[in-house]
Amino acid sequence: MNSVAQSIQSQTINRMIHKLLITSLTLAAVLSGSSPALASDWPTFRGAGGRSVAMEDVVPTVWAVDDGTNIAWTADIPGRGVSGPIVIGGRVIVTASSGPTEDRLHVLAFDETTGQQLWHRQFWATGRTLFHPTMANATPTPASDGEHVFAFFSSNDLVSLDLDGNLLWMRGLVLDHPKLGNDVGMSSSPTVAAGAVIVQCESQGDSFAAAFDAVTGAPRWMIDRPRTAQWASPSAIDEENGCVPAVVLQSADGVSLHDPVSGSPLWHRKHACASIASAVVEGGRLFVPGDNVTMFSIQDGVSDADAPIWSSAPLRPSSPSPVVVDNRVYVIGSAGVLVCGNADTGEVQWRRRLGGQFWATPVAVGNHLICINSEGTAFVVDRHDDGKILAENKFSAEMLGSPAVANNALFARSHKKLWKIAASGVAIRPASQAPK
């Protein structure tokens, strides 16, 4: 055998091993109901497990976009977008929409380290592109299972690409469900579980939740949902959240857990839920936003008869979802007041007026909470010091998308810009040194 043949044989064997490894990982992921995304990635709206928590990361407290302090890089984004960035496999993925009717859909990938644009794919919407001026067609945050990117839009167009920007499939959900959509806009972000991407599409017309095969886009399951407008996002949860693998769905009149493989309901509670802020699961406890935040225990199996453990009226979130970490619940109310509650009891621990209107869900980074209001002011708050505001960093741009945290960096976007905030700067305390 000559050297070329040896080389080809060697490459072939390597490819086979690689494929086998990928297949094994995918199979393992499917069986376990989780995705192969790395723990350090930020694969969905609110990150892995839908908790918006990055306890091991260190992000600067202070940054400045005007003089570049602690700004690792800045990238331009076309059109508009209120979706959040995700970080996956060394890439930062962002969606945007443009054009006079915002029927142009964009999916962009940037190198996580350098900010260089790696690829940019464009599509035309196949569904409705009417929405409130606050929103954009690019409102849902994309999701990834570590191998595929699932970009979803208010027009209910769902696009699957691999990490190199190769198109794998696209579904125009309105082509199959013509009455799907509302003219305020659809904002529910997809999630990923059991080898499928899961979308929650609720409107007064067609209304459903569905799972589509990550590789082929084939429907795995579809369940009817209440025919009312709904903007909250589903969450894929598992052992990391302290419970069985499940998908959490909420509507105005109830919250439920579903088997990620079949969509079958595992648990349902009639409950007045928020229509924008999304539920969060931490430590086997389900925190449901509504007029109050209400907590259910779902740790030791679930039963329809389970009563809530507590319901706290002072914990009343506006559009941002609650964040639960270190046995504390954090919500931002409509007056721009950050409220911290005890996760065991719902009892308020402290309040801190931040100011402004908030759409983005805050992110807990170590001992800090980073809260970005719609005017683009990022408040860095000390969670352990009664919410003391440590810094106000101004992006000076409208910002509605929730930020991502990965590999000691914060990724935030306005309509036109994507920033990576990371540097030696002023380090924050590791979580292990948090005051008891």
């Binding site: 196949t126 499939w169 003219d183």
Partner: protein, 375 residues
């Protein structure tokens, strides 16, 4: 020396021949991939993914061949083809290559091609030659591509500020108004005309139907009224009367004289009124043709054309925007009957105490189709 010339010429001719031959072979090779991609549905087969990769790795000279595949393609297939072209252009530019501007320009000006394909070619042309808008947009004011048309109107509007007199400005604005198919753009043009003391009749410009006969309100006994069959739904007789809460109800002429052809039931019934209203309009078409009814309302509706149900939207107070519902229709030659049912349920919120609709007839680009005058 002469032989040398001959050799050089032959070599060049051979190279061109080889290049052309390679290009045509490659282009032919793309046909199966284009065909495969054109047949995609939401659920894909590996062959489609493989075909997309074939197209995405094509030579930049084959860009317009791929774009040609968008002609009469489904919306999903258009997206598959466009995104493959994105990959081709991206890779080519990254390697320092130049885009085939002459081919792209010819493609943009070929109105037999898919509007979206032409728009794509235009965008890459602008990337390669930033002066392209100055060269092409004046020719694209009435283009079938809504995106090219929008930019052409914007280009024309820039000239308004440079026009030496108000009269000349008004001429340009009128031209822009008639060419535009975009609601906000048209509103902006109208505002500019107002500043010149010229009135734009947008209700007419959009093709809003304003002459109606209405009857109601029929009380809602159960649900929201959308699925309940009331007498005007079962048979249409404008001379008929129906029992109502306050006596017999008869069809009445109604003028949609609100802003942009809005017919506001609250104006006559009060803002907290509820029930079901029916409105009927006659529309004289000059010829049988494909068209659209576009309408906007905050209320639940059913819509019929010539007795056939063409739309039903059990949606209440969920935004409501211009051209909220787009309904493809087929107009018959002569008189057509449009009937709409508009439902309002009991509401306590002030913002939900609205009961109205706007309706227009237009072509697929949104250009008004007006009812012909009665003979």
């Amino acid at each position: 020396m002469e032989k040398c010339h001959w050799n050089a010429g032959l070599t060049i001719a051979m190279l061109i021949g080889v290049a052309l031959s390679a290009q045509s072979v490659d282009a032919a090779d793309l046909s199966p991939a284009i065909s495969e991609v054109r047949s995609v549905t939401g659920q894909v087969v590996p062959a489609a993914q493989s075909a997309w990769k074939t197209l995405a790795t094509a030579n930049v000279d084959q860009l317009t061949a791929i774009l040609s595949g968008m002609k009469d393609a489904s919306p999903l297939a258009e997206n598959w083809l466009r995104s493959a072209c994105d990959a081709v252009v991206e890779r080519h530019l990254r390697s320092g290559g130049k885009l085939p501007v002459d081919t792209l320009r010819t493609f943009v000006l070929d109105s037999s091609q898919s509007p979206r394909a032409r728009r794509s070619a235009y965008e890459w042309l602008v990337l390669a030659e930033p002066e392209t808008p100055n060269m092409l947009l004046p020719e694209l004011l009435n283009d079938p591509s809504l995106e090219l048309r929008y930019d052409a109107v914007e280009y024309l509007l820039k000239q308004v500020t440079e026009a030496p007199s108000d009269d000349q400005k008004a001429v340009l604005l009128e031209q822009a108004l008639h060419a535009s198919r975009q609601f906000k753009q048209i509103q902006g043009i109208s505002e500019q005309l107002k500043k010149l003391n010229r009135q734009a009749d947008l209700t007419h410009e959009f093709g809003c139907v304003t002459e109606w006969n209405t009857v109601g309100p029929f009380p809602i006994a159960d649900g929201n009224g959308v699925s309940t069959l009331y007498p005007p739904e079962q048979s249409l007789d404008l001379a008929a009367t129906y029992p109502g809460k306050d006596g017999e109800m008869a069809w009445k002429e109604a003028q949609a004289d609100g802003e942009l052809g809005q017919l506001d039931f609250c104006k006559t019934l009060g803002k907290d009124a509820t029930g079901v209203m029916y409105a009927v309009a006659k529309f004289n078409a000059a010829k049988p043709q494909s068209a659209q009814i576009r309408y906007e309302t905050n209320n639940g509706t059913k819509l019929w054309l010539n007795g056939k149900l063409v739309a039903e939207n059990e949606v209440f107070h969920a935004g409501g925007d211009w051209d909220q519902y787009v309904v493809p229709i087929q107009l018959i030659d002569g008189e057509n009957t449009i009937k709409i049912k508009v439902c309002q349920t009991k509401r306590t919120e002030d913002w939900a105490m609205v009961w109205h609709f706007r309706l227009r007839v237009c072509d697929e680009l949104g250009g008004a189709i007006h009812s012909e005058p009665n003979n």
